[in-house]
């Protein structure tokens, strides 16, 4: 078995200092304390394209934007039942993020799969933000345990439960993995490059399809996230 124990574990505030962010290294394991809010296409469209007022003080209350919607229910008495919490793939939100980071002052973007290192260098680094990935993408129950309470659910009538802006109070919530650092490097791209060295051997004894597709590539260093 690999040595998972040699990875560095870090507790981090959801309103982190510039020093704490600069200290993070690719592959560090992070646990979060403080308020975190969910925002995905519904929130971005409403806040940026429809210019609705963001119903929180950002980034004072929270600088942690989670690409997620929880498995949760709003009860008839207005209380919330929250079970598991898992991220959704972030690359789909790239078109809104430059404006969102500038507007919200988010320092931590948390999600699934990360973005490209070009995205990090273009608008994460100038805004002092880094990207944290959830682990395995299925650790919903572990992350659910890290949520002490649901503080608020904004815009659920307009956007539905899955797209609403959930404000979660977190304590030692994790694990997350540092995917981008303060220089805009990407852990996924580092791993991709290592794996690519072996790929030509794996593909020996295979052949390209007789019927081609438009836009097809045989360059296996490419990614599908665009």
């Amino acid at each position: 078995m690999g040595n998972a124990g040699k990875l560095r574990k870090v507790r981090l505030s959801t309103t982190p200092s510039a020093e704490a962010l600069a200290d993070l290294r690719l592959g560090d394991i992070v646990y979060l304390d403080g308020l975190i809010y969910t925002a995905r296409e519904g929130v971005y469209m409403r806040a940026l394209e429809e210019s609705a007022n963001i119903p929180m003080e950002l980034p004072q209350q929270s600088a942690a934007n989670f690409h997620c919607s929880p498995a949760a229910t709003i009860n008839s008495d207005g209380t919330f039942t929250l079970g598991a919490v898992t991220a959704t793939a972030s690359f789909r939100f790239a078109k809104w993020l430059p404006e969102w980071l500038a507007k919200s002052g988010a320092k931590l973007v948390i999600g699934k799969g990360g973005m490209s290192s070009q995205d990090y260098k273009d608008y994460f680094v100038p805004n002092g933000a880094i990207y944290l990935s959830t682990v395995g993408y299925g650790t919903g129950a572990l992350l659910g345990r890290g949520v002490k309470s649901v503080k608020e659910v904004h815009w659920h009538e307009e956007l539905g439960i899955a797209q609403a802006m959930w404000v979660l109070e977190c304590e030692n919530m994790g694990p997350f993995i540092v995917e981008s650092d303060s220089k805009g490097n990407s852990l996924f791209e580092r791993e991709n490059a290592k794996i690519a060295e072996n790929l030509h051997k794996v593909y020996e004894g295979t052949r390209p399809a007789t019927l081609k597709r438009f836009g097809e590539t045989d360059d296996r260093t490419d990614e599908v996230i665009g």
Binding site: A84, G136, A141, V202
Partner: protein, 320 residues
Amino acid sequence: MISTSLIQSTAEILMDKAAIEIPQDYLDGLTQAADAEDGDLSSFVLQAMLENYAVAKEDRRAMCGDTGTPRWYVKMGNETQIEGGPIALENALRLATANATVNVPLRPNRVHPLWRTDHNNNVGIGAPEIEYGFEPGGEWLDLTTVHKGGLFGTDYRMLFPSDGIEGIKRFYLDSLVAFGKRGLACQPAIIGIGLGGTKDSCMVLGKRAACLRIVGDRNPDPKIAALEDEFKELGNSIGMGAMGFVGKSMVIDCNIEVGYCHTGGMQMSVHAFCLSSRRAVARIYADGQVEYRTDPDWFTPYQRRESVTWETQESSAKSA
């Protein structure tokens, strides 16, 4: 006669079990993969997943916050009768899906594709899917719910006989590598492959191979069974593990199903069931007895039959 209320109450229990309890066959497969994994980051991910399954059961909360797109597979013996008929059955399954979405809770994932309307209950046009199968003999109803993730890890391609096994391998590897990077497919997973049929039935076969067959199961055709072994090994030799980190756990098992296709073609689909391989099964008998299990046991000799009629085969076997 099987009562509709028993169908609905059993279905609600199945929704809960599927979302929360990792099936033992997958858990055993993942534990073995975790023991064999030598990448540091991949090992950390697999350990976190194992811990997550335990926490989900302990807290009775969903394994994953994305609780997928719940669907139903209904199978019945030839003598089975359902109170109120098939309409009552479908009502019961839609009610169970809506109730469980609130009670477990599940994420209300299902929305209108254009208007994004969300009923907050995972029910809508064509949702949940309800598919049917039948078995000769018996008076029972098998209910299987599968909550497969809905975005990445699945692909289809029209291949031709001239593409051969080499072409099949290429498309298999392409699917694993493309969706494996950054762990989009939420690997390591049970990979299902559909070969043949028509485009739509090829997709159905591959999806069922991933979701309705368990880890360790093998196709009864020994040559296909050998391919399943070979493809599992091939997927795990890419050098990629969980989340697309350096490692060697991509495929917990590979299941292949085939269907007769156009003489000029060789359709192929690839499907990755994710780290939270959510499936739960119950058999309901006419006397009200209910047995829960995790193996859908979908692909029986009857489902894979090649002969024109089943009865003919039975009687010719007897007369021989």
